[in-house]
């Protein structure tokens, strides 16, 4: 296994029980995501990309095969350990709006740092500001989620996902609900983050227009990797 892959997926299969039998969403996927890369997980809806994302994010277990995060297998971890892994080493960006409605932009970003166990301090506040500035919301820090547009909210979510300094950001269709201009802007931010912070980013999308920004692309079709 290469030293520099943050994610290593080994023959991952995921079978769901459905009425009338079984359905294999993933059929023996192998993949690696190098450290500091911006990788896109591509595929049509139903191709199994979200399932793979969930398994990589330790939210779901593969029926067969293994996933290593920074060389550590997820398989042996307890739920508690996985949760700690997620809150310290990973950042998530979801398709739909996922901010805590009772917290303003600043507090939402700060919250991920709290969760990662970073104690309150001036530095922490500064870091939150930095992150929000990075996503271009330096002037909207005190706004509540309900007072922001979808794109703005998504950018806050991105700021939140990397504020606590994770090694890996998993972004599941973060641009799906945004217009193409905003989608491009979001992708740009991701790209910048890999450059500035050395974070590894895995993003799913079916938007062909965004592919150009990717360092590498993993493409799925009917649960199989096709590239």
């Amino acid at each position: 296994m290469a030293e520099n892959s943050v994610i290593k997926v080994n023959g991952v299969t995921r079978v769901f029980q459905v009425p009338g039998g079984e359905f294999a969403a993933l059929k023996g996927i192998d993949a690696e995501v190098p450290k500091g890369s911006f990788t896109i997980l591509k595929g049509r809806s139903g191709s199994g990309k979200t399932t793979l994302m969930n398994i990589i994010g330790s939210l779901d277990n593969p029926t067969d095969g293994e996933v290593f995060i920074n060389g550590t297998p997820i398989k042996g971890m307890s739920e508690y350990e996985r949760e700690n892994l997620r809150r310290t080493q990973m950042g998530f960006v979801f398709q739909s709006v996922s901010l805590i409605p009772s917290l303003n932009a600043f507090q939402n970003v700060e919250f991920s740092m709290r969760m990662a166990g970073i104690k309150p301090s001036k530095e922490r506040d500064k870091r939150v500001e930095e992150c929000l500035k990075l996503v271009g919301l330096g002037n909207r820090m005190n706004h509540m989620p309900a007072e922001m547009s979808g794109g703005e909210q998504q950018r806050v979510a991105i700021a939140r996902s990397f504020a606590h300094g994770p090694k890996l950001i998993l972004a599941d269709e973060p641009t799906a609900e945004l217009d193409s201009q905003m989608a491009a802007r979001v992708t740009e931010i991701f790209k910048e983050m890999t450059r500035k912070e050395g974070i590894t980013i895995l993003m799913t999308t079916h938007d062909v227009g965004l592919m150009g920004a990717a360092d590498s692309i993993i493409e799925l079709e009917h649960g199989e990797r096709i590239n």
């Binding site: 769901f16 969403a25 809806s45 939210l59 409605p101 009772s102 991920s112 509540m144 309900a146």
Partner: protein, 933 residues
């Protein structure tokens, strides 16, 4: 459509279950009130009859009349009178128990056929009593025969023992009436066949005891009717005495109006008006009606807060329904359903819930009513004493109203669907805004109004008890002010609550973990959403506390007062024989009965002689007579039997007795001798007993309270205005008093041993064949106090109100939390995905519960305590009986509070349990809608 509806309901089963529970409770509560009321009134009515029966020994529901018919051509009058009982039973709509009908000929002399030397000249009346045959037992001789006439043509008769003795009759003797004859002028002969007495187990058949029928010769009624009534009636004077006894047990409160109306018709208008006597039950019904009017208003007033809570509950449900459905409605609508279809969908759903709710709720309401009747104290039931309940028309009307209101609250959201987007916008904006009541300072206004009421009632506390004494019901305003106070204080707390949370947050800012942090923020930002459920919780608990205190205070004060006024367990006064002088005039002296026999009264722990004369008097300064109660006691023995609570006397009760004990001619007098008449300690006081015998004593002390003594007597003048009269009490030494006024009948005050009751004393009295003039049984008085319908009804309604509101509160609380979790499923999913532990989610919810639930509970407890402190002393005035002698005190019993806390804790635990189940069932990926399938 049915399919869609059922699917929709199943999809939101938690919410629908809560809604369903809410409907059941609501319908049950609403229905229970009319059922309880009518059952309670039935019981009161029944008690009224039973009390009459046991105190008077006479059948309570009895209407009787006498007619004397002379020259009654063809016996038409008598025939009509014969029809009367049937008509009465039918028109009054009552069940006949017994019709006692006695026909008499006029008293007339008769001569014995055997010319006995010792035969007296006797006058008798030939009589018959219908159906008397199985109500008598024959002591000597035999019953008259079936034909009623012997072979010689003499009418066979039976006589009572007293008639036999008084008139010197012999069994078997034949007589001939001197002055009356058969219609064909032949002699009427009678033969004494036997002597009768009232049979065993004849119930109340013998309204006039056979001993009193001492000149009646009872013959077969068939013979009597053949010979002296009908076509023959014109020749005779026949008296018909009819007494119609009907069942009181089956008379319900709803029958009262009809019975009154029909009785008045019979006694005042009908053809029978001249012969019927106004029955005594009219007075009983009158008494009952007064009680009912006093109680019903009070019960209604007590129910108001409960009904208000129910309304608040519906409001909350409706609001939550709206919140829950608005998205769905717009979705359905956008898919092309018409408004009519949407409304129908919700209407059907509402119908399913409310109708099944009614099917379960109505019987539950009857059960509630039963429980209401079994209430002994706040949250205390005696299930052996449940009420007989039945559904009334009224209860179904209530049920229909409840169902309609429920239905409306479920359906209303579907009417609002067109405004969804605007409202949603408004709501998201309203997040940080203050509630309308906060802006309008409703809490301050309510507090102000209630405090004004408090101030006013406090100032006029005396008027209040007078008004109640005069038969008026509880002043609704009084109750309203305490309720307003609770609402106002509750709202005021809600105004403060966000600041309190903020303060706690700020103080511990450095220590809060992510879970606490997010729950603090949630509460600070979104807390106002919870205001309704919090207010509900606060009101439930503070009303519960307040009601518990009201119920306990009223009951315990009544109990203590009854105990105090009784003085001791049992008081017996035997009938004494008064000494007559040689001219036969009474001297006022008595032969004292043997006192030593009380040693054999096993039931007595201790006993003592007490001279008790409630009609003594003193000469006031102006020379007027003032009535005074004169008592003579043996201080040591009396002190061992009686007690007065230390807290209401200036010094210990025994110290007063000791003061008296050391002065042979000392008297202990009531404080009003000092305050009203100006006597001082050491003054000599001359007083008189009922027979004007005089005694002088030296005042050794003034007492405010003394066993059995009420310083002020309250009551009503004949014109209905209340009066208040001072009572004076003089307590002297038994022996000193006896030596001055002569041997007068004393009472024996008895303290019962544990495990013995009045029954044992009764047995002893019977054993000793004592004739008792006065018998006071404290336990009987206590029983009456405890069974006072006003007290019981108050306890019942308050308890039931609390139970129902706490249940509704639990349901409301659940609905709120289920909604709140469902609403935030996505956020929880996000949190879990980003690594939040389950325990942290749990902690977060626990924190939120703490801020809303636990805060409200503590606020409720605080407000409840405060309200009790302020309003119970006023409220209890209204319940004071006219013989309230002790000062009223506010009573809270720890166990009542523990019960209350227990119920609240149980509710919280159940709610929490449901939340935990919900939480654990929640799937992270599902919540996030991450799964593809």
């Amino acid at each position: 459509m049915l399919g869609i509806m059922l699917e929709k309901m199943w999809h939101k089963k938690w919410m629908n279950i809560c809604l369903f529970l809410g409907c059941i409770l609501l319908i049950a509560t609403v229905v229970s009130f009319p059922i309880y009321r009518s059952a309670a009134y039935d019981r009161m009515l029944n008690d009224e009859f039973i009390n009459y029966l046991s105190s008077e020994g006479k059948w309570p529901t009895l209407i009787k009349g006498t007619v004397v018919s002379k020259r009654d051509a063809h016996g038409k009058t008598l025939a009509k009178v014969d029809e009367m009982p049937g008509k009465i039973y039918e028109e009054l709509g009552v069940k006949e128990v017994n019709t006692f009908r006695m026909l008499n000929l006029a008293t007339t002399p008769m001569s014995s056929d055997t010319k006995r030397a010792d035969a007296q000249k006797v006058s008798t009346k030939l009589s018959c009593i219908d159906n008397v045959e199985d109500k008598v037992k024959i002591l000597t001789g035999e019953m008259y025969s079936e034909s009623g006439v012997n072979e010689d043509g003499a009418i066979e008769v039976i006589v009572s023992q007293s008639a036999l003795v008084d008139m010197g009759l012999l069994v078997g003797e034949t007589f001939t009436f001197d002055d009356i004859h058969y219609i064909d002028r032949s002699d009427i002969k009678v033969i004494i066949k036997g002597v009768y007495a009232a049979g065993d187990d004849t119930g109340y058949f013998w309204q006039t005891k056979p001993e009193k029928l001492n000149d009646n010769l009872l013959c077969n009624s068939k013979v009597f009717r053949e010979c002296f009534t009908g076509e023959n009636a014109g020749k005779y004077t026949v008296t018909n005495f009819t007494s119609c006894m009907f069942d009181y047990d089956s008379i319900k409160s709803k029958d009262i109006a009809r019975i009154l109306d029909r009785t008045n018709y019979f006694c005042k208008e009908s053809a029978y008006k001249s012969l019927l006597k106004e029955p005594e039950y009219l007075k009983l019904i009158d008494d009952y009606s007064v009680k009912v009017s006093r109680i019903s208003a009070t019960l209604i007033i007590l129910q108001v807060p409960v009904l208000a809570m129910l309304a608040a509950f519906l409001l909350m449900i409706s609001g939550q329904m709206y919140e829950m459905e608005k998205n769905e409605i717009s979705v359905i609508k956008s898919r092309g359903s018409s408004s009519g279809q949407i409304i129908r969908l919700y209407l059907y759903q509402g119908l399913v819930i409310t109708i099944t709710g009614a099917i379960l709720g109505i019987p539950l309401g009857a059960l509630f009513a039963k429980m209401l009747g079994a209430t002994r104290n706040f949250l205390e039931f005696d299930l052996s004493q449940t009420l007989k309940v039945s559904y009334t028309k009224e209860s179904f009307v209530y049920a229909i109203v409840a169902v309609l209101v429920c239905l409306l609250s479920i359906t209303v959201p579907s009417f609002k669907h067109s405004r969804v987007s605007i409202v949603k916008l408004k709501q998201s904006k309203a997040l940080k805004r203050k509630s309308w009541w906060e802006k309008l300072f409703i809490d301050i206004l309510l507090l102000g109004a209630s405090l004004y009421g408090y101030y006013n009632f406090n100032k006029n506390a005396g008027n209040l008890s007078n008004a109640v004494m005069a038969g008026e019901s509880l002043d609704p305003l009084l109750y309203v002010s305490s309720s307003l106070f609770i609402v106002g204080a509750g709202l005021f707390f809600l105004r403060l609550q966000p600041y309190i949370v903020q303060l706690i947050y700020t103080i511990g800012k450095r220590f809060w973990g992510p879970a606490s942090h997010v729950s603090f923020m949630e509460n600070i930002k979104n807390g106002r959403k919870q205001q309704l459920i919090m207010l509900f919780l606060i009101m439930t608990i503070s009303l519960g506390m307040y009601h518990a205190t009201v119920a306990r205070t009223i009951l315990d004060n009544a109990i203590e007062n009854t105990e105090y006024l009784s003085g001791t367990d049992i008081i017996i006064q035997e009938k004494w024989t008064e000494i007559q002088d040689r001219y036969g005039a009474y001297t006022g002296d008595y032969y004292a009965p043997d006192y030593s026999k009380y040693v054999s009264l096993e039931a007595a722990e201790k006993y003592t002689r007490v001279l008790y004369d409630a009609n003594g008097h003193i000469k006031a300064k102006g020379g007027d007579n003032l009535t005074a109660t004169v008592m003579g006691i043996n201080t040591k023995e009396f002190g061992e039997i009686t007690m007065v609570d230390r807290s209401i006397l200036e010094k210990h009760y025994y110290e007063y007795l000791n003061d008296l004990a050391v002065v042979e001619n000392g008297v202990l007098v009531s404080s009003n001798f000092n305050s009203k008449l100006g006597y001082e300690i050491g003054d000599m006081l001359t007083f008189y007993n009922v027979r004007n015998k005089t005694c002088t004593g030296k005042i050794v002390g003034f007492v405010d309270y003394f066993p059995g003594y009420a310083s002020v007597e309250n009551g009503l003048n004949p014109d209905g205005t209340p009066y208040s009269k001072d009572n004076y009490l003089i307590v002297a030494h038994f022996d000193y008093l006896n030596s001055k006024i002569g041997t007068t009948p004393y009472e024996v005050w008895i303290d019962l041993k544990d495990g013995y009751s009045s029954v044992d004393v009764y047995k002893w009295i019977e054993e000793k064949k004592l004739t008792i003039k006065k018998y006071v049984d404290a336990s009987m008085k206590m029983q009456a106090t405890l069974e006072d319908p006003l007290l019981q009804g108050t306890n019942g309604v308050l308890t039931m109100g609390f139970v129902v509101t706490i249940l509704l509160c639990a349901v409301g609380y659940l609905i709120y939390w289920v909604m709140s979790i469902r609403e935030r499923e996505l956020i929880f999913g996000v949190l879990r995905a980003t690594g939040f532990h389950k325990s942290e989610i749990f902690k977060m919810l626990l924190n939120e519960q703490l801020f809303s639930g636990v805060f409200s509970i503590f606020a409720g407890i605080g407000i409840g305590k405060l309200t009790s402190k302020m309003f119970v002393p006023i409220l209890q005035q209204a319940y004071a009986s006219k013989n309230q002698a002790l000062p009223m005190k506010l009573i809270t019993v720890a166990s009542d509070m523990y019960r209350l806390y227990g119920v609240i804790a149980a509710v919280m635990v159940v709610s929490l349990g449901v939340l935990i189940v919900l939480l654990f069932k929640m799937n992270v990926t599902k919540a996030l809608k991450l799964g593809e399938e």
